[in-house]
């Protein structure tokens, strides 16, 4: 009996260790391959180590974590720096993961996501010599923390203008109820700024359009995203914009199944359903991470808020599919110019 228990506790320990390892083993492999690939690169750049800590959505979220990963991959191939990443399994992992990189003397640690603000504040204080970049947050009082803030209300506005104008068109995917929908993940500022922009964009060109706004309360449950989108479609929506990470996979799936349009978020998500995803609101996290790595490498690291907006090409919209007439695209570009020159100010507050 005792022996069995001993065997079993060993087995449990093994299973737990394995599951922990599986979280970061791919990261280790990444690091090794980056080291072997870049033997010809400048040794100084190779000594510059960049660590990426993803949010719980994980690196294959088709969205901002994946873009951040693309940013560090670009830095690896173009600048020859050493990169590595850890995926957070849950919110309680943030501090541990950030600390792990900081302790290993990484030069720059990138935290992806608004939800990691508290963790970055804590860890950046403990490791004043390590530089941190946090995406979607507003930490301003630390000399070693840069906060990349995206004016996503601007790109939300532009896809809103496109959706509002499309509602006046007629084709097999559009009904005559003049309703569009937004499915948000959690009700947090980086999600709401998109939604606020979308509402204003739709209203600017089509004041009668009804904009449905729903939140699923999560970023990793595509099943609930699908049902939420189906609910909005049953309420008349024929264009559904999602701001919901992996939950949004279900939104796009629902739009495809019900033969209506979807609008992707963060990255160009057209490849997920080429006839359905009419455009995507882009938030160029890859540009932000790459630029910050480059600046830090050249001793140009700037702490505090760094804004990314339409004017510096930090946000934008993906090339629309051919169902969207050129006249509408021209109109959207017109609005983009008005936002760039300040004629239109977009608020980031959602209308109730």
């Amino acid at each position: 009996m005792k022996k069995l228990r001993a065997v079993l506790s060993l087995m449990l320990a093994f299973v737990l260790t394995l599951s922990l390892l599986s979280g970061c083993s791919s990261a280790t492999k990444q690091q090794q391959s980056s080291q072997s690939n870049n033997t010809t690169q400048n040794a100084k750049n190779k000594d510059f180590k960049v660590g990426l800590v993803t949010d719980v959505g994980g690196i294959n979220d088709h969205s901002f974590n994946q873009l951040a990963y693309q940013g560090i991959e670009k830095a690896k191939s173009e600048l020859g720096v050493t990169v590595n990443f850890i995926q957070s399994k849950q919110q309680t992992d943030y501090v541990t993961n950030l600390t792990q990189f900081a302790q290993q003397k990484y030069n720059l640690v990138i935290a992806v996501g608004f939800l990691m603000k508290d963790a970055v504040e804590q860890v950046s204080k403990e490791f004043p010599d390590t530089k941190f970049l946090i995406i979607d947050s507003d930490i301003t009082d630390r000399p070693n923390v840069a906060s990349a803030t995206f004016k996503t209300e601007q790109c939300g506005y532009l896809v809103g203008v496109m959706a509002g104008l499309m509602e006046k068109e007629k084709n097999s995917k559009l009904n005559d109820q003049n309703v569009v929908g937004v499915v948000g993940g959690m009700q947090i500022p980086p999600v709401d700024s998109y939604i606020a922009g979308f509402q204003q964009g739709v209203k600017a060109v089509n004041p009668d359009t009804k904009v449905l706004v729903s939140y699923t309360g999560n970023f990793n449950d595509p099943a609930s995203g699908k049902q939420m989108a189906l609910t909005q479609i049953s309420q008349g929506a024929d264009i559904v914009f999602h701001v919901a990470g992996q939950t949004g996979d279900g939104v796009i799936n629902a739009a495809k199944e019900k033969n209506v349009y979807a609008i992707g978020v963060d990255a160009d998500q057209n490849y997920m359903a080429p006839d359905t995803v009419m455009t995507s609101a882009l938030k160029k996290v890859d540009v932000a991470t790459f630029e910050t790595i480059k600046n830090a490498l050249n001793n140009n690291f700037k702490s505090g808020l760094v804004y990314f907006d339409l004017a510096n090409d930090g946000v934008g919209y993906a090339k629309p599919i051919k169902d969207v007439p050129q006249s509408i695209v021209d109109k959207v570009n017109e609005y983009a110019n008005k936002i760039k020159d300040g004629t239109i100010k977009v608020s980031d507050q959602v209308q109730k």
Partner: protein, 307 residues
């Protein structure tokens, strides 16, 4: 309010959200009726969801995906049974270990096999079934017809399980093993074998539930996509007093609460209150309306056969 209740989507969303709860709840019923507390349904669902996509993608057939998911799910369940029944390990700790393992294991496999852009977009999906005649009835047709095949399979399994558990000899024996294993063994029943059967069935049903999430509702896998349904299924099983129909009813109630909160999102009510609705209903159901739930007497107690 009338408009919301008459929206067929409310009722089909109820069914769609109840299915991935009812299946693992049914699985848990078998396991616990045989005397093994199984909280690993969450992990088994997640692993099955991944392998459903993997096999569907490799073979080009969603059906083989489902089959692969079921086989993998039952293998995990049998490993669980080996540790819980044969090695008499602590069942709750074991279940937690499987759940933690499943989360890391599937994330790792997703990245190594499919890379960082996720599972392929051309992965086949299990079909939705349109029932002739019924589909033409207004309102009712829109609810009862056009659901995923797994929804209908789930309903058949509920009836079959009830018959099996309460109207066959084998069902009686499974229940006897969960209530009083000593007495059952005296009557010549192989306790160990039946407990293996109970746990394997829980793996089977949880795996179908997992496959429903990845290739029934969608055609993709994403990390932690079971998002706690295995645990809510446990609540549904307890609320349903360890019976197939009870579990189904509880799953329907939770599914309805979720579907209703989706419908109410654009009403005048505060979104925060609406998003709490499924959880409030769950708590109310568990403490009040359900009455006294009595678990099988030997539930969670390892059994060592008398020599």
């Amino acid at each position: 309010m009338k408009e919301i209740l008459l929206n067929p989507q409310l009722w089909s969303a109820t069914l769609a959200m109840a299915t991935p709860l009812a299946l693992p709840a049914l699985g848990g019923t078998f396991s616990e009726r045989s005397g093994v507390v199984n909280i690993a349904m969450e992990g088994i669902m997640l692993i099955a969801a991944f392998f459903a996509v993997l096999f569907a993608h490799l073979t080009g057939s969603a059906w083989l995906g489902l089959l692969g998911a079921v086989i993998v799910g039952m293998i995990v369940a049998v490993i669980f049974a080996w540790a819980a029944v044969t090695l008499t390990a602590d069942q709750v700790i074991l279940g937690m270990a499987i759940n933690i393992f499943a989360s890391g294991f599937t994330a790792y496999l997703l990245n190594t096999i499919f890379g960082f852009s996720g599972t392929p977009t051309d992965t086949p999906m299990l079909p939705n079934i349109n029932i002739p005649i019924i589909k033409n009835i207004p309102f009712v047709g829109q609810i009862l017809s056009g659901n995923s095949i797994i929804v209908y399979l789930m309903i058949i399994l509920i009836f079959a399980s009830d018959y099996f558990l309460f109207h066959t000899n084998l069902g009686l024996r499974i229940r006897a093993v969960g209530e009083n294993p000593e007495a059952a063994e005296t009557a010549g029943i192989n306790v160990i074998k039946l407990r293996y059967l109970g746990v394997a069935l829980s793996g089977l049903f949880s795996a179908i539930g997992g496959a429903y999430l990845s290739i029934g509702l969608l055609n993709s896998f994403s990390t932690d996509m079971s998002s706690g349904r295995g645990y809510i299924a446990l609540a549904a099983m307890i609320f349903g007093k360890w019976t197939p129909f009870g579990s189904f009813g509880a799953a329907l109630l939770f599914g309805f609460a979720t579907a209703l909160s989706m419908q109410l999102q654009n009403s005048a009510l505060s979104k925060n209150i609406i998003m709490m609705l499924p959880y409030i209903l769950t708590v109310l159901a568990l403490v009040g309306v359900g009455g006294k739930s009595v678990s099988p007497a030997a539930d969670g107690v390892p059994y060592t056969p008398k020599k």
